[in-house]
Each structure stands twice: as C-alpha cells, then as structure tokens.
C-alpha cells in the first residue's frame, strides 16, 4: 500500500467543517435574506389557514395520507407546466409549512387545482378515481370519513390564485381555452 504523508487529523476535520459551513451558509442561510422570501403575497394569504378551519384540517389529511408523494405544487416557467396556471414564486409559499412542493408528478400538479375543479368532482374522484378518470392509478380514498373527505376537498379547493394574480400565467399559456377543453374531457 502506498504510504500517505498525512498523519494528523486536525486539517481534515477543520477543512471539512469550513467547507461544509460555506456551502450551508450560501445555499441554506442566505436565501432567508432574499426579499422574495421575506414577505407573503395575495396567493399566500389565501393559504394562511386559521387553525382548525376545514382547509387547515384538510391540509393535515393531505399530509397524513402522503398526497405530496405523488402531487407537486410547483409551477415552472416551462413548456411542461404552461397549462397549469401562474408560475410559482417564493412569496406563494410564505405560510406553507411544511412546504408542500413535492418532487414527483405521478399525479397532476395541484398548485392551482381549485381553479379547474369543483367540490362535487373531487368528491367522486376521491371515492374512486377510476369512476371519473378511467385508467387513473391514484388510490381510492373511500376509507376517509365524510368529515375528512370534506376537509380535504376544502383544502384542495382553496388552492387557487388570488384574483389579482390570476391573469399572470406563463407567457405562452393559453389558459382559458385549455380550461374549457379540460372541462369537456372531464
């Protein structure tokens, strides 16, 4: 085995800590001081649920059942997201704790799902997704109580843009037409 020259541990320990701290400060701590992270917008206010409101309880169900493992709440200024509604900005998430951005779209994005659906649609869909969308692989949530289902729907319906920002979609997004098309498909 080749003989390394290094024999003291201190430089490795100090170096490891310093380099780690630099990265952590830059990518975790500094963003806290970004203007966009420091204040909510009108969309965020809609999502600032009073404790024990139906939306708040619905959000807890959303978390408990792990909806975020398949659904994102994250609209990007990309072609793949152009029909989903306004592009997400940091201010939208101001009150979102734990943050529900999600990482995989096994199901559709839900950032503004309240805008394109109705409570009745959700009720049928949650009971058995395949009744409404044949071929869907979403699990049935028919084991939720009536109360839980209603709360969850209240949460989902609250996920819509504030009137002031509703028109600011991605530049090329033909939202109104798509919306109607989507409706006929459902």
């Amino acid at each position: 085995m080749s003989q390394p020259r290094e024999s003291i541990t201190t430089p490795f320990i100090i170096g490891a800590i310093v380099l780690f701290t630099t990265g952590a400060i830059a990518t975790v701590l500094l963003p806290f001081f970004e203007d966009t992270m420091k204040r909510p917008n009108a969309n965020a206010e809609i999502r600032n649920y009073a404790a024990d409101s139906p939306e708040y309880r619905g959000r807890q169900i959303y978390i408990r059942e792990g909806c975020h493992t398949c659904h994102t709440q994250f609209v990007r200024p990309t072609k793949g997201d152009m029909n989903l509604g306004p592009v997400s900005v940091p201010q939208d998430y101001y009150y979102d704790s734990p943050v529900m951005q999600g990482t995989v779209r096994t199901g559709a994005d839900l950032m503004w799902v309240g805008r394109r659906t109705s409570p009745a649609w959700h009720k049928a869909h949650l009971k058995n997704p395949r009744d409404v969308l044949p071929g869907s692989i979403m699990p049935s949530y028919n084991y939720l109580t009536e109360q839980e289902t209603d709360d969850l729907i209240a949460y989902l319906m609250s996920l819509k843009p504030a009137p002031s920002t509703a028109g600011t979609g991605a530049p090329s997004a033909p939202i109104p037409t798509r919306e109607r098309e989507g409706d006929t498909n459902r």
Binding site: S2, Q3, P4, E6, S7, T9, F12, I13, G15, L19, F20, G23, A24, A26, T27, V28, L30, P31, F32, E34, M37, I63, R64, E65, G66, C67, H68, T69, C70, T72, F74, R76, T78, K79, G80, M82, N83, S88, P90, Y93, Y95, S97, P98, V99, T103, V104, R105, T106, G107, A108, V113, R116, P129, L133, G135, S136, I137, P139, S140, Y143
Partner: protein, 462 residues
C-alpha cells in the same frame, strides 16, 4: 475471556445482519409500491388499504433503505475498517452493540409512525422530531466510537479512507440537523432549500463519501496492487468536500428561487465530475494488470460495478440539473431511476463487496456458496438495469408528453396509461433485484450457520 476483537466482531455481525433485514423490508415495500403503479388496487384489502396506501409507505421504503440498510451497513463497515486501518482495537465495542440494538428500535418506530400517518412531510426526513433525537443520539455514539478508535491509532499514517470517514462522520450529523429543523420553525422556500440541502447531501456527504472510503480500502486489498495515486485521492477528497455541499438548490431548478441560487447549485454540480473522475482514475489505475481477477472474485466484481454506476450517476446527475434537461426530466420517473443508482447500483454494491470480503474475519467462517454469490450479483445488476432503463424511458416520455400540454385531467391519465408497460418492466426489474437480495440474505444466513470455520481450515493446511 472475551477479547475486544470478539466483542467488536459480535457488534459488527449484529449490525450487518440487522441491515440485511432492513434491506429486505425496504425492498419489499419498494416492490409493493412498484406494483401499485400497475394495479392501483394491489393489497387494497380491509385495513391494509389504509396502512399500505402508497403515500404512507413510500417514505417507509426510502427511510428503510437509507437509514436502515445503507447507513446501518455503513456503521458496521466503519467499525470493521477503522480498526484495520489504524491497527487499534475498536473503542467501546459493548456500546457498539447497544447502538445496533437501539438502531433497530429507532427504525421500527419510525416505520410504524409513518404507516400510522405521522410524518413531517419533508422528503427523506419524514420521521418526527422525537425519533430524530433518538437517531441523533445513536449517531453521536457512532462518532464517539469511531473518533476514539482513530485517536488511539497505532498506525501513524492516516490512510486515504480515514479522511473520507472523518469528513462523513462530521458532515452527516450537521446535515441531519439542517434537514430536520421542525416544521413550526421553518416553512416555505427556505424550508425546501434546507430539505434539499439534506436530501441531496445525505447521498453526497455520507453515502458517497463513506462508500468511496470503503472503495479505497477494498481496492488495494482485492486487486493486491498498491493504490495508483495518492495525489489523485487528495484532489478527490478536497474537491468533493468543496463542491458537494452546494448541490441542494438544483432540486429547485426552474423553480421559485432567485437565479443566483440556481447557478450556485448547478455550477458545483457540474464540477463534481472532478472528484468522481479522480476516484475512477484511481480505480482504473489500481486495477491495471489485474483485470482478470474480476471474473473470479465476486467482491471485486461488485466493487468495480459499483464504481461504474457511481461514474454514470455523476455524469447523469449534472446533466439533469441543467436548466434545459431539467425542464423535461424534473418531476418524472427519470429522477426515480437516477436516485436508485447511487443508493443501489453504486454504494449497495460496495457494501456487498465489503461484507463478502470481511465475512471471514467478523464471522470466522467461509461464505457458504460461491454460486449464490454469483447469483446475487447477476440478479442485482440485471434487475437494476431493467428497473433503471424502464424508469428513464418513462421519464422521457412523461416529460415530452407534458410539454405537449397533457398536464392534467384525462389527458394526463392517458400519459399515465401509456407508461403502464414500462411500469410492468419496472416491477419485473425490481423483483429481480429483490430476488437477488433474498439469495444474498440466505447465503449469509447459511454461511453464518454452516460456513467452514476459518481457523479449522488454517490448522488443516498448516
């Protein structure tokens, strides 16, 4: 009298065997999840519907394989390798065994709470904070044991692997704190950044760096060549320590973060090719003239395969972190395939090599069957390739279908249906991977029970 070595080998055996159980648990859950992509009503029977619901067991899969299987196996590996490299006995072997016991309780508790629906909802950090505290305590014990052993060293030189181990032992708890800041204290995009800082770096500064340390230990042993370049390994260590920490923000590529932050995340991701290549160049350099050994030695086969998957991971990762590719591939199953590569393809392979290599020592017996070792290898590799290529294909299909506008409603479901054949392949690949691990577990079990004791064999040959 029980010697220190016997005590430490007992702890190592216990932790390794527990890790293998968690591997089987985690992969069983993974298999159930993958079947749910094909038949969403799979196991929707009575109370199982609720407790094995996709969203609840998905974090059970990730936590069992990361904190149960790989991290536990890594801890056992550290307890095995550090004394070899320092020529000092493992410090506090009794504590090591207790850590093993409690670690199992920690993981079991974590899994049960997740199935019960108690989760922080932060990916890879889903366990609730009281359970996090248990983990933190356990890891503090691991650090204490490892650093005590290193400071008692009789070997004056610090071998390459030890730098990696020391770095990782310091980074992991720090990462863990940042990733697990309780929900009430943090939210919004800063929380997403903290979560990705943890989610990405638990792979980069724990799984990767300890795994590379094991590789540097195993490579000269298995190839019987000296390590090719000391300087390269130095470059590799310091560049990985410099660049990896910065990678978190690339998980929010094209997302609601300032553009300076996106760049701060992507540029170091691309620069990661330096540490990766320095490791691979060292691997290839060390193997020079010894490649024929690969076909005879399953440990070496696993090690080299792991390193090749490591290289592919770190070429693929920077590619998909770029703005353009990310706009197509983000949120698709491509990422799922990518995430499995370092964890299963690369570093689980390194651990398999380490377990097979060290078995004679810590269990005092020969491996029961070489044929089963080979089966383990081929099932794992072929299964993984089938699995990975089906997720990657799915990802590309999904990304382009969404770009055509099929983003919700029945159009989205049509894309989902088009993925079904690939989901079947994905499950089949997953089943092969799982079958490989069953063979592995059986082989280790039989070896521990009926393997030829090493001492006896030595006496016969003497």
């Amino acid at each position: 009298m029980v010697t220190n070595e016997q005590l430490s080998y007992r702890a190592i055996r216990y932790i390794y065997y527990s890790a293998i159980v968690w591997l089987l648990v985690g992969m069983t859950v993974g298999l159930i999840l993958s079947i749910k992509y094909v038949w969403p009503d799979f196991l929707v029977i009575g109370p199982l519907q609720k407790y094995l619901q996709y969203g609840r067991i998905r974090p059970v899969h990730t936590n069992s394989v990361i904190l149960g299987w790989l991290t536990m196996a890594y801890v056992a590996g550290l307890f095995y390798v550090i004394p070899k490299l320092t020529r000092a006995p493992l410090a506090h072997p009794r504590l090591a065994l207790i850590v093993g016991y409690l670690w199992n309780i920690f993981n079991g508790l974590g899994g049960l709470t997740l199935i019960g629906g108690y989760t922080t909802a932060i990916e890879y950090a889903e366990y609730l904070w009281p359970i996090d505290l248990v983990f933190f305590g356990l890891f503090a014990c691991v650090m204490f044991i490892c650093f005590r052993t290193i400071s008692n060293r009789r070997e004056k030189q610090l071998y390459v692997s030890l730098w990696y181990f020391m770095g990782s032992l310091i980074w992991f708890p720090l990462l863990f704190i940042i990733g697990n800041i309780p929900n009430g204290m943090i939210g919004g995009i800063p929380q997403a950044l903290a979560a990705w800082f943890y989610g990405h770096n638990v792979i980069g500064l724990w799984i990767t760096t300890v795994g590379v340390g094991f590789t540097y230990y195993l490579l000269p042993k298995l190839s019987k060549n000296p390590l090719y370049s000391h300087k390269l390994s130095l470059i590799g260590f310091w560049t990985i320590a410099t660049f990896y920490v910065w990678n978190g923000p690339h998980h929010l590529q094209n997302g609601p973060v300032p553009s300076w932050l996106m760049k701060a995340g992507v540029i170091p991701s691309v620069l990661l090719i330096i540490p990766v290549w320095s490791v691979l160049a060292n691997v290839f350099g060390t193997m020079k003239g010894k490649w024929q050994l690969v076909s005879h030695d399953v440990s070496l086969k696993f090690l080299i395969t792991g390193m090749i998957f490591y290289l592919i991971t770190c070429v693929q990762g920077p590619f998909q972190s770029l703005m353009g590719p990310s706009s197509v591939l983000k949120f698709t199953n491509w990422v799922v395939g990518h995430a499995h590569m370092p964890l299963f393809g690369a570093f689980s392979s390194v651990v398999f090599a380490l377990i097979y290599h060290g078995f004679k020592d810590f269990a005092g017996r020969e491996i029961y069957s070489k044929k089963l070792m080979d089966m383990h290898y081929w099932f794992s590799v072929i299964g993984f390739l089938v699995f990975a290529f089906s997720t990657w294909t799915q990802g590309v299909l999904q990304g382009f279908a969404w770009a055509e506008g099929k983003q919700y409603g029945i159009q989205f479901v049509e894309v989902m249906q088009a993925l079904r054949p690939f989901s079947i392949f994905r499950s089949a690949g997953g089943f092969l991977m799982f079958a490989g691990q069953v063979v592995f577990a059986y082989n280790i079990y039989r070896s521990a029970k009926d393997g030829i004791p090493v001492e006896k064999k030595d006496q016969q040959t003497a």
